[in-house]
Subunit: 212 residues, 2 copies
DNA sequence: CCAGGAATAGGTCGGTAGACCCATAAAGCA
DNA sequence: TGCTTTATGGGTCTACCGACCTATTCCTGG
């Protein structure tokens, strides 16, 4: 599997932190490896986890996100988010070393796309976001998993829905039991597993139950 | 399964909305059935989904959370959350019909506990939160799933980690293959499934892989 | 003290899953 | 045109899984 993008997020609201963490971790290619609720602990977390991408809220008590990141020597590609649509902080965010500046009004998939974009070396400021993010909308899956075909996905989807018997799968997909077994064999090979139970685990990990 | 608590959440920040939705849906006993990004659409969403609990942010553009809920005739048990620790809105939230007033500084498990508490008829204002939420910390699972024993959970945990073969499970848990089969049989009965693949699906649905 | 549940383990047996071989029709692409 | 992939299907065989029944030990609650 392509190694997931390791992300650290900082926000003074624990609720936001927990929510974002859940949301981002639900994507197959992004892993939240650390969180911080204020600017002072952010440095330690970044130093110990060495994330690929840093995500910070501008509004933080004590030390603002901006000043917090400006005093990090080894700043990873950093996205600054704000509650306000205002561009007021944009300039200072850039000066502090951020490579992207976004609003919290964005939906989560867009944030995910932005994370992939900056992990890829892109900068996201004023420019048209929709266009800049276009290439990063779909999660980067492992090369093996990407070769999963239409019909094989049908089988996986059934598995995840709790249809696991060969006969049940055959009935559900209107194919012979033999074909089901063939598809399963292909799936096992592509996901590097060797039975239905492990296939379910992998499918869920990769998010094959949600997307497509 | 005990029917999950149906929740509608309103927040002007899409990111918060998506994050909370993910976080809450990851719990086995809470289901987010609707969301609203502003006060004006909130009414329609509540009317069409009829949630058990409503969760609204005070700070919303156009119409504040407070005024939005005060003009709903048929208000479900409602939790008002705020970014600020300030109690300023507390009184007006109560007057508008809310039964709880919380800070966004709370961690997600506490919010979940609060949701369970208000769904259960509790009111959560000034009082000591920790104590008020104590009874609602653990997710309410289905009665069958709650009888899953320690050792059976070990087996499930292994399954979810991709250890599915009888021999592998036996080695991992230092028990005989026969005992593994016994535990599996109990699990199947308690989760109403009939093989390892379905057990994995159920375990993940119930969140048995995360908790305990 | 005894009943009951949990964890451990043994046996048998039918059914099925997974591995390995193969074939054919259709579709996409060079 | 032919090569490759995909979807469909067949057969065989071994190993394994799941269902059913029993048993022992330990611990906890009444």
């Amino acid at each position: 599997m392509n190694t997931p993008i390791r992300v650290v997020i900082a926000d003074d609201h624990q609720l936001m932190l927990d929510g974002l963490k859940q949301g981002l971790n639900s994507l197959p290619d992004i892993r939240v490896v650390g969180t911080a609720v204020d600017g002072s602990t952010l440095g330690d977390v970044v130093a110990s986890t060495e994330p690929d991408v840093l995500l910070v809220d501008v509004e933080m008590p004590g030390m603002s996100g901006i000043s917090a990141i400006s005093r990090l020597d080894d700043l990873p590609p950093t996205i600054v988010v704000t509650m306000h649509t205002a561009e007021a902080y944009g300039k200072s965010a850039r000066e502090a070393g951020a490579v992207a500046f976004l609003s919290k009004a964005l939906p989560l998939p867009d944030l995910a796309a932005a994370i992939r974009a900056v992990a890829d070396g892109q900068h996201l400021f004023d420019r048209d976001l929709d266009q800049a993010l276009a290439d990063y909308r779909t999660p980067r899956l492992s090369t093996r998993a990407e070769t999963i075909t239409e019909r094989e996905r049908d089988v996986l989807r059934c598995l995840v829905q709790g249809i696991s018997g060969t006969e049940d799968l055959a009935d559900e997909l209107y194919i012979s039991q033999k074909t089901v077994k063939n598809h399963l064999a292909s799936i096992y090979e592509k996901l590097s597993v060797n039975d239905r139970a492990q296939a379910v685990v992998e499918a869920m990990k990769l998010g094959l139950d949600r997307k497509w």
